[in-house]
Each structure stands twice: as structure tokens, then as C-alpha cells.
Symmetry: C2
Subunit: 191 residues, 2 copies
DNA sequence: CGGTTATAGTTGCTCAAGCAGTCGTTGGGC
DNA sequence: GCCCAACGACTGCTTGAGCAACTATAACCG
């Protein structure tokens, strides 16, 4: 593969055609394709269901992360670290969701720079309306597609890939120091 | 879960806190989390490497799909069906990549509505520069993380999930009729 | 043929998201 | 106590993507 594009080609097309089709049958390419297509497929199914409840995927993730956190709240920065959003992205999602009455901002008592995003009652209600159907979608399109041990094997593999590739993002939880999270998070984000 | 938000709560917080942490420990949520985080992690790693070669993920997918197609070309619509892009999205990616010299448009001889996107020599060169590193990234962060049978189990599971959830997108290939592709593709796309 | 319908691609508009820059706040070093 | 670096959140600007509307071509059908 190092002498790939060595000589500059009158008959480019033939030469590339051969090499290229070979390369794209590479099992590594196939593997990534499977993972990405599975993800894309599930995303599409989930989005459709979330949309019925007036939520985008990002909004659902935000409200979920908040709801599972102590006090149903999280500092903006921590929320950014847990989601795949930048801090400015979080500012704007929270803007929209606050406008829609799903969240509120609350001042942080001991640090006047920070503010919390808190799920409102209306937000909780929306989440409760959305969740059962969401779980059903997961069952239908993902976990229900495999028998228990195949699923376990799949999840085991995914966990190992995740642990290797995914910069851990659990800011606001107690098991990770903020600096650590910030570092890994920045490493993840593009330039 | 049906009597979830039954009584409108003075002690909302406690009640939700309990239910909610339970719900979010649901193995189905965890499973999706693993898949999505694995995907996000790999995407981030791949994007970093692609960026070194001046390609976005979408551009890489486009040029890859074209390069693996007969004649290194595909009609705009078929390209849209194969990628996760709308036709207008494809128009614009191809615009940019044509401006950058990676692709050209070529008129379709037998249908004057259609046009092909064709990879240029320069585009092929760019792809060839990018691919080895990309394969290496896959190896490093994904396939190399697992021993062969664990990987096989993972891929097998992914394949089943993909087949269930992913609207098959192989337009321009010979094994699928265009109408079929269009139908599944539209089903996939949000509203 | 002529007209209607469907298809391929492009374009205007909108919106979501990131980066870089800003402002106020905090905390550490002296 | 004072200063300066670091931090948290927000805002201006740009970019990328989708939808809907439009044009040109093709296909179908009477």
C-alpha cells in the first residue's frame, strides 16, 4: 500500500479500479460500515419516535442526562461534557428548551459564574411521555433482534471499543475529576 | 410505567429521582449508550485523521463511494441514496469537492437530466493518501481491540441490527432496483 | 403527437452547531 | 489586598445540511 500511487498513470482508471475494489472489500472497512450503518439506522428510527413527542435527538439526550442527575440538574459545562456538544451548543439548546418550558436555568449559589440547567415539571412530563415508546423502539430494532448471549457478546465488544475510542464523558458525576473530563473532552472535539 | 406521572406531586424531586435512576439503568438504555458512544468515539478518531488530509467525514464517504463504483462515478441521486445525504446535500458537497478539484461532474449521455459525479486523478490521489492511515485507525481503535472470535461475534450482532434497522442503501449497484432504494431511503430520512 | 405526470438536479431559505472572542467571576501567588 | 491567569457562560460569525420550490428533461398515455 506504500507504492500505491507510484507512477503517474496514463491508464489511471484500470489500475485504480482494481486496487480500489480490493481495498474496499477490506474487512476493516466492512466492520466500520456495519457499526456506522447500525448506528445510522437506529438513529433514524429513534428520531422518528422522538419527533412524535416534539424532541430532537439532542434535546432528548440533554433532558435525559439532566433527569438522571441528582436534582435533575447539571451545570452547563458538565452538560456539555456529557453530551457531544460544545458549551456554546449547550447554551443554545438550553435556550430553546427553556423557551419551550422544558428546562429552566438556576443560578449556582457558590459560584456565580456557573448556572444549572434544571428540568421543569413540564420537561419531566414530556420525558415520561417519550420514554416508554423509546424503550420499545430499542427493544424492537436493537436488543430484541438478538438472543441473550448474542446480545451479551455484542455489548461486550461494543464496551471494549467504546472504552478504547471514546473519551470518557461523565462530568458532574463523582467518579471523575473535572480536569480529566475537560481534557478528554477537548481531545475529542475537532480543532 | 403507565402510572408514571400520576399525582401532581409536592415531592416531585424524590419521586422522580428514584424512578428515574431506575429507568436509566435499564439495560436497553445502556445498550444504546454503548453503541452510540462507540460510534461517537470512532467518529472523533476518524475525523481527526481525515482532517489531516483535508477531508471531512462526508467528503470521505462521498469519494469512497464513488471510487468503489464502476468507472469511479455515480449519478447524483444514487450518491445521495448511498450516503446519508439529501440530494441537495449532495449537490453542495459535490460543489465543494469539484471546486477543490477532487471531483468533476459529467453529463449522462442517455439521460440529460442526470449527471455523474466522477473522481478526478487528484481525488484518487487524495484518497490513496488518506486510506492507509484510515485503515490503521480502524485497526487501532476498533478491530484491533478484540480477538478474532469476539470481533466476529460483534460484527455478527451488528449485522443483524443493521439489517433490521437500516434502510438498505445500495443504489447504483445492480442488485437493487432504483424504486426500492428510493422508497427505503425516503423512509429513513426525517420528515 | 400533445399533455400530464414523474424524475434529476439545483437554489433560496432556515436552522443547528462550532470557533473565536467577550465579559464577569474565581482563585492562586506575591 | 492586588494582580493575573483560568474558568463559565454567552454572542457574532460562519458553515453545513435539509426542505420546499423551481427548471429541465423524460416517460407515459390518451
Amino acid at each position: 500500500m506504500s507504492n500505491y500511487n507510484r507512477n503517474n498513470i496514463p491508464r489511471v482508471k484500470h489500475w485504480y479500479d482494481e486496487r480500489v475494489t480490493n481495498v474496499f472489500d477490506d474487512p476493516r472497512i466492512t466492520a466500520v460500515g456495519l457499526l456506522f450503518e447500525a448506528h445510522a439506522g437506529l438513529s433514524a428510527r429513534f428520531n422518528a419516535q422522538l419527533e412524535e413527542h416534539g424532541l430532537s435527538a439532542v434535546e432528548f439526550e440533554v433532558i435525559t442526562r439532566l433527569a438522571r442527575s441528582p436534582g435533575n440538574q447539571l451545570r452547563m459545562t458538565d452538560l456539555a461534557a456529557q453530551t457531544s456538544l460544545s458549551t456554546s451548543g449547550v447554551t443554545r439548546v438550553v435556550d430553546r428548551m427553556e423557551r419551550d418550558g422544558l428546562l429552566t436555568r438556576r443560578a449556582c449559589p457558590n459560584d456565580r459564574r456557573s448556572s444549572y440547567a434544571v428540568v421543569t415539571g413540564s420537561g419531566m412530563q414530556r420525558l415520561n411521555e417519550t420514554l416508554p415508546g423509546h424503550l420499545q423502539m430499542i427493544e424492537q430494532w436493537f436488543t430484541g433482534q438478538l438472543d441473550p448471549e448474542a446480545l451479551a457478546a455484542l455489548l461486550d465488544g461494543l464496551r471494549r471499543v467504546r472504552d478504547a475510542a471514546h473519551p470518557c464523558a461523565t462530568a458532574g458525576s463523582d467518579d471523575v475529576s473535572p480536569e480529566q473530563v475537560a481534557a478528554t473532552d477537548n481531545a475529542n472535539r475537532r480543532h
